[in-house]
């Protein structure tokens, strides 16, 4: 039950259609007061052993995601997820589309937002604050989540090369066992508490969009070296209690292509602030992509 190519294709088309909202920015009247800057937490440069996002095949059969030691330069990330009140300022200015979920308590993270919505907000927020804000890469999200990093909960490994159903059945059982009652009600900031780095609410009922594209990689027999890979940026990685992959336009976790039993209750995001002394996102993306040196098909 993974992302299918039809959905991915639809995602790609949608990604062409929707950013028109962002284009509208140019017509906004100039705004005098700068928006207040969201509180951030600085994360020191580090190296993590990281289970790579995407789907992996060895000899045509699903394989466990390989882990790689990756070096992450220092970065600053929002202490809290982007809030509904802030998001609605963007909506009021016509730079963001209203979120799908509009709970009456306002002191909650914005939910019911797609990757495209998150992009539009980042652009608007950058303009309003005079800083450069962007979605974290999946790697940065993993580092910031610290001990709350979920990553891949279930192994994709084919159990019996001659019988694909063994894996399907095992996975189905694992998913059923991991199923918990859904709790989609948005919670006030701080409900799930800070992690060891002081970052609030990671791993709660809001899964967070990242800037990392979905990728399918064929590995060599060593289960490490990439033989080929196909990148699909119509689908992005979300991190939360477990990793999820969703088409860019999806706003409801239940409708997206989540691989595990209980789909994400809610989709939201937090942003990374690029300061002059921190490396650019392009540099980071290059680092991540360097893990499989292979020309990739771009959407």
């Amino acid at each position: 039950m993974h992302i299918n190519m039809l959905e991915a294709a639809v995602g790609a088309v949608a990604s062409l259609a929707v950013p028109l909202a962002a284009v509208g920015l140019a017509h906004l009247p100039p705004r005098a007061p700068l928006l207040p800057m969201a509180e951030t937490v600085g994360i020191a440069a580090t190296v993590i052993d990281y289970p790579l996002p995407g789907e992996f095949l060895v000899e045509g059969r699903p394989a466990t995601a390989p882990s790689a030691k990756v070096e992450i330069p220092a970065f600053r990330i929002m202490k809290r997820q982007v809030g509904l009140a802030d998001y609605d300022l963007c909506v009021a200015e016509g730079a963001c589309r209203p979120a799908d979920a509009r709970p009456s308590p306002r002191d909650v993270p914005v939910i019911g937002v797609s990757w495209l919505d998150a992009q539009a907000f980042a652009k608007w927020y950058s303009r309003g604050t005079g800083a450069r804000w962007r979605l974290p890469t999946a790697l940065e999200a993993a580092v910031a989540a610290g001990e709350r990093f979920g990553g891949e909960t279930f192994t994709a490994q084919a159990d019996d090369p001659a019988n694909p159903a063994v894996r399907w059945l095992r996975r189905y059982r694992e998913e059923a066992a991991a199923k918990r009652p859904p709790d989609p009600e948005p919670k006030p900031f701080g409900h799930y508490g800070p992690n060891s780095m002081g970052i609030e609410d990671f791993g709660g009922n809001v899964w967070e969009w990242t800037s990392t594209c979905y990728e399918r990689v064929t590995l060599a027999g060593d289960r490490k070296t990439a033989v080929s890979s196909t990148e699909n940026c119509g689908v992005h990685v979300l991190e939360g209690r477990h990793r999820a992959y969703m088409s860019n336009f999806v706003r409801d976790g239940k409708s997206g292509g989540c691989a595990v039993g209980t789909p994400p209750e809610n989709l939201g995001f937090r942003l990374v602030r690029d300061d002059a002394d921190f490396p650019s996102v392009a540099w980071l993306d290059a680092r991540l992509r360097g893990l499989f040196r292979q020309p990739s098909s771009q959407f």
């Binding site: 045509g60 189905y172 199923k179």
Partner: protein
């Protein structure tokens, strides 16, 4: 005037009619004393999707089969958003439990409406003859019980449902009050050639269409009692668009830990019942080897169906032997109803994979350009 053609048609129709008329129905009435002399069997009903133990081929003559069903009005959760619903149930389950008898048996049902309920209820058996299917003889108030006996004269899978009166009828049915009785031929199921068909397992799926009112913000409303929910619910019902289309009373009730289990080589009989609204079951990755769409075993089964049609107010039966292991989704193939409204169940099937039936010849990878 009587044309030759009409005469022929008339004769043909008469022949068909005579052939179709069950022997037992056309036979002389059996006396009360004769019925009293028949052996009796008490059956304990089980919760769907399971069905009480029964013989596929009757090993003895007709008997009186006794069933007891209490009616239970209760609040249940019908989806994964925690939507609460004021349900009315036969025996506490949606659908009501399946009863199995053989043609020529007498069904003797004790229907109980406990004091704790708030409404009168009854039961209309589509398998029964006369008195609105028994509805006219079984209307009971809270604190009452009634005993009905009817002769199972026609074979097949048949809906039963509550049918109190007027506007109460559809409301009670879409609140959960329906179930199925299966009347087997005494010599069991047969294919179109009259050869015996058997099943290793039987699964019973009741499809419910629910009509849950929403508040101004679009959230489902919950009510403290059935009475309070009535007026709003009827408004939604009259729009004819259900908010939920689910199997066995709740979205996801036949998935995960409750998925139906089978094995390669095993033959399952899937009985699908819908008391109110048309539906179209489909087993994704499988078929219906033999399907009684209308559910009536006097008609030969259709073969190799991809999807079968169950008319609202009827139950059908599909026989299938699993050939390949894996997870099968059993859906209402209006896929909007399956995925968005909830009409999806799962089969977990163990066994050996057959590459000759299906194989991924080349795994997904970059598009080759040569």
């Amino acid at each position: 005037m009587f044309t030759r053609r009409q005469a022929l048609l008339g004769a043909a129709a008469a022949t068909v009619l005579a052939g179709a008329l069950p022997k037992l129905a056309s036979a002389a009435p059996v006396t009360e004393a004769e019925i009293a002399a028949l052996p009796r069997e008490k059956v304990v009903l089980v919760k769907p999707p399971f069905v009480h133990a029964h013989e596929q081929v009757a090993t003895s003559g007709p008997k009186v089969v006794e069933f007891t069903m209490p009616i239970e009005e209760k609040k249940v959760v019908i989806d994964d958003e925690g939507t609460e619903f004021q349900a009315m149930t036969f025996n506490g389950s949606m659908p009501g439990p399946m009863m199995v008898v053989h043609e020529g048996d007498y069904v003797e049902l004790t229907l109980i409406n406990p004091y704790t309920n708030t409404m009168p209820h009854n039961i209309d058996f589509h398998a029964a003859t006369g008195a609105l299917g028994g509805g006219a003889l079984t209307l009971i108030n809270p604190g009452e019980q009634v005993k009905l006996r009817f002769k199972a004269t026609r074979t097949g899978t048949f809906v039963y449902h509550c049918a109190p009166e007027g506007a109460m009828i559809p409301w009670h049915v879409v609140s959960g009050m329906s179930g199925t009785i299966m009347v087997l031929p005494r010599d069991g199921l047969k294919n179109e050639k009259g050869e015996a068909l058997r099943y290793d397992k039987i699964f019973y799926i009741g499809e419910n269409d629910f009509y849950v009112p929403r508040d101004e913000e679009g959230n489902y409303k919950t009510y403290e009692s059935h009475g309070e929910s009535y007026a709003d619910t009827v408004q939604v019902m009259r729009g004819l668009i259900p908010t939920h289309v689910v199997f066995n009373g709740a979205k996801g009730s036949l998935t995960g830990d409750n998925a139906m289990k089978s094995k390669v080589g095993e033959t399952v009989l899937i009985v699908h019942s819908q008391a109110n609204r048309d539906t179209r079951p489909h087993l994704i990755g499988g078929h219906g080897d033999y399907v009684w769409e209308e559910g009536k075993f006097a008609n030969p089964p259709a073969k190799d169906l991809e999807t079968w049609f169950i008319r609202g107010g009827s139950a059908g039966a599909a026989l299938y032997t699993f050939l390949q292991p894996g997870i099968y989704a059993y859906v209402n193939h209006n896929l909007i109803e399956a995925v968005e409204l909830g009409a999806t169940a799962h089969f977990m099937v163990e066994g050996e994979w057959r590459d000759d039936l299906m194989k991924q010849v080349a795994a997904p990878g970059p598009i080759t350009t040569n």
